[in-house]
């Protein structure tokens, strides 16, 4: 019987398999950032262990970094974390793209951008949105700090083999519906716990038609549906994106790599543990109304009546009444950024909505590019001018208001249309209220001053 792509990559990376024990898997690429690594490095030091493969480890600063005013704007404890990362990388010989580096950025934006993220790799990072890298046909897991320590010391991960779920999305995306809406639509369908214990393989014509940026957005949100990894078969779109990038193979090695990558996709006769089908024609631009990413409705509809206690709590936190038209909900802040939606395609489409308009006087809006490189590219295309002239703040790269570890946070009660991935209570700032939307929907909300259907907006 044939094998799934997940099974092929898994089996390619088994270092040791013992009866009754989880498999020991080799990690091709370990991405490190300042927030989930200091305790791991400290443990290594205390037990006199070394970093086994600093050459397969790449570090950046993203979670804490201020997005204006440079490093001097960081608070004392953020600075302590950044200095710790510098010191840890220096001692171990790990390449670090720190603040001020031309390659700095959100860890899940720079991996692909530098060509480090490649098909068939097993990738690990101490961040749940590591699932993003699966867009290239890699198996990419978010891990905790103990596992970060384990990978640093052994270059291996010890894991039980997950089940594999196929999510088939077929058909042409309707106008105004983006990869973000595909992700929100899938999570709304399977639920926030639907993917638990699984790796998700996204398949079907809709997925194949997505750009690499769109595929990354879909895979990024996999964890919000409860699955630890999401993946998409590599194809010409993948190869075209990768070819010529800094760390991509070249010449004869490129040819060899391509021939290996061609063998990765799931075999026609492979069996999935579970299959889900989504009709793209039925997807709409979604808005979350609650406090988890599964609580979403089409922008044209109304705040639903609560069905569970969780729903009731969410409505209270969000200060929303059932039956309220989504488009009547006023917005105080707009955030365009995060590892979900801060790549060139996201900024281009948001700018196309913004061009010639002005941010509503009651709204404070900001754009935070996903990396220093995205920022430079956007500026070379004049997108920064489009945003600034409309009244958006144009910031430096980082995670920023997606999780609010730096000074970019919502105030209590502030309501934000956000292109990020989590609308948890307090996620973007204590008491802040988050509505997850796509980049064009966020841009339109900034101008209208309330949530609005981007398809009706000009």
């Amino acid at each position: 019987m044939g094998r799934t792509m997940a099974a092929k990559i898994w089996e390619d990376h088994v270092v040791a398999a013992h009866d009754g024990q989880p498999d020991l898997l080799y990690v091709d690429l370990h991405l490190v950032h300042e927030v989930t690594s200091p305790q791991a490095f400290e443990s290594l030091r205390l037990s006199n262990r070394r970093v086994r493969r600093p050459d397969l480890t790449v570090a950046t600063m993203d979670h804490d970094v201020p997005t204006r005013g440079g490093r001097a704007a960081a608070d004392e404890i953020a600075e302590r974390q950044m200095s710790a990362l510098e010191e840890n990388c220096r001692r171990a010989g790990i390449p670090l793209f720190g603040m001020g580096s031309s390659r700095q950025g959100i860890v899940h934006v720079i991996g692909p951008e530098l060509g480090l993220t490649q098909p068939g790799l097993l990738i690990a990072c101490g961040d749940s949105h590591t699932s993003t890298h699966g867009a290239f046909g890699a198996l990419a897991f978010g891990i905790g700090t103990s596992e970060v320590e384990h990978v640093l010391a052994t270059q291996c991960l010890r894991q039980r083999r997950p089940k594999v779920m196929a999510v088939n999305v077929e058909g042409e995306l309707p106008l105004g519906v983006t990869a973000k809406d595909v992700a929100l639509g899938i999570i709304g369908h399977i639920g926030v716990e639907g993917g638990r214990g699984h790796v998700i393989e996204y398949r079907g014509s809709t997925i194949r038609e997505l750009s690499m940026e769109g595929r990354m957005t879909v895979c990024n949100m996999t964890i919000e549906g409860g699955a630890r990894a999401g993946m998409i078969a590599p194809d010409d779109t993948t190869y075209m994106y990768l070819e010529g990038r800094e760390h991509a193979p070249r010449g004869a090695q490129w040819e060899e790599a391509i021939s290996r990558w061609h063998a990765l996709p799931t075999d026609a006769d492979a069996q999935f543990d579970r299959e889900v089908s989504i009709d793209a024609a039925r997807l709409e631009p979604y808005v979350t109304w609650g406090t988890n990413p599964g609580q979403s409705v089409p922008v044209t509809s109304r705040v639903p009546a609560p069905r569970t206690e969780t729903d009731e709590r969410a409505l209270r936190y969000m200060a929303l009444e059932p039956g309220t038209a989504i488009e009547s909900i006023p917005i105080d802040r707009v955030f365009i950024g995060s590892c979900t939606n801060a790549r060139m395609e996201d900024l281009r489409i948001a700018a196309s909505v913004v061009r010639g308009h002005t941010v509503h006087p009651k709204v404070r809006a900001m754009v935070v590019p996903g990396s220093a490189s995205v920022k430079r590219q956007a500026e070379s295309e004049g997108l920064d001018a489009v945003f600034r002239e409309a009244g958006f703040e144009w910031r430096d790269a980082g995670c920023s208001m997606c999780l609010g570890m730096n000074p970019d946070i919502l105030g209590p009660g502030e309501r934000c249309a956000s292109t990020s991935n989590r609308n948890f209570e307090g996620r973007q700032g204590s008491g802040g209220r988050t509505h997850l939307v796509s980049p064009p929907m966020a841009a339109a909300a900034a101008i209208a001053g309330h949530l609005v259907d981007v398809r009706e907006f000009n």
Partner: protein
């Protein structure tokens, strides 16, 4: 890691589903570079709103938490199980746990106990109606018992062994050094390196 064999302690109920790691330990407390000291910030925002159930005198010093499905969803921050441990909890009972939270918990010595929905519901009611009641969580026998309630639970046998013995997983893997080196020799030369 401290070995885990059996815990007897107060059972505290948190009757909510989908409790995410941002609620367990909000991001402003992730800036420490130590593994300890997170206990005071456990469920920080909920505690600040007042009358939070875990702050009631009867549940002070609780060692076991019983809660709703999909506990620990969201971010991979191991600070979530660290903060529960630091606040005195040794085990959490729920119908299900988010994958990364469960994996992190095993690795830092917090025992995630999965019981069927009705059993969890029964325990939550039991803890609400008998505040301060003690529960026994026995990892060796894989059973929980409180008052007349008793249930068996399943657990990954590998992580059970690790917890019972307080094993250091890195040390276990380093014994496989030869296998790792053999695997490394088979990796194609064109795979990416960071420098």
């Amino acid at each position: 890691m401290e070995p885990f064999t059996r815990v007897i302690g107060v059972l505290a109920p948190l009757d909510r589903a989908d409790v995410d790691t941002d609620q367990i330990i909000p991001k402003q407390f992730l800036k420490r570079i130590e593994r300890s000291g997170y206990g005071p910030f456990l469920f920080y925002d909920w505690r600040r709103q007042g009358d939070f159930i875990l702050d009631r005198a009867e549940y002070r010093g609780a060692k076991v938490l019983v809660t709703g499905a999909n506990f620990g969803c969201g971010s991979s921050r191991e600070h979530a199980p660290w903060s529960l441990l630091d606040a005195g909890f040794r085990a959490v009972i729920a119908p299900s746990f988010a994958d990364i939270f469960k994996s992190n918990s095993f690795r830092c010595g917090l025992l995630p106990v999965e019981l069927p929905d009705p059993a969890v519901r029964q325990l939550i009611e039991f803890a609400l109606q008998n505040p301060g009641i003690e529960i026994t969580v026995d990892l060796e026998r894989q059973r929980v018992a409180a008052g007349g309630f008793e249930a068996a639970f399943a657990l990954d046998p590998f992580f059970r062994e690790c917890l019972l013995n307080g094993w250091d997983e890195v040390a276990l893997t380093l014994r496989q050094d030869a296998a790792i080196t053999r695997y490394e020799a088979t990796r194609p030369g064109w795979l990416p390196v960071g420098r």
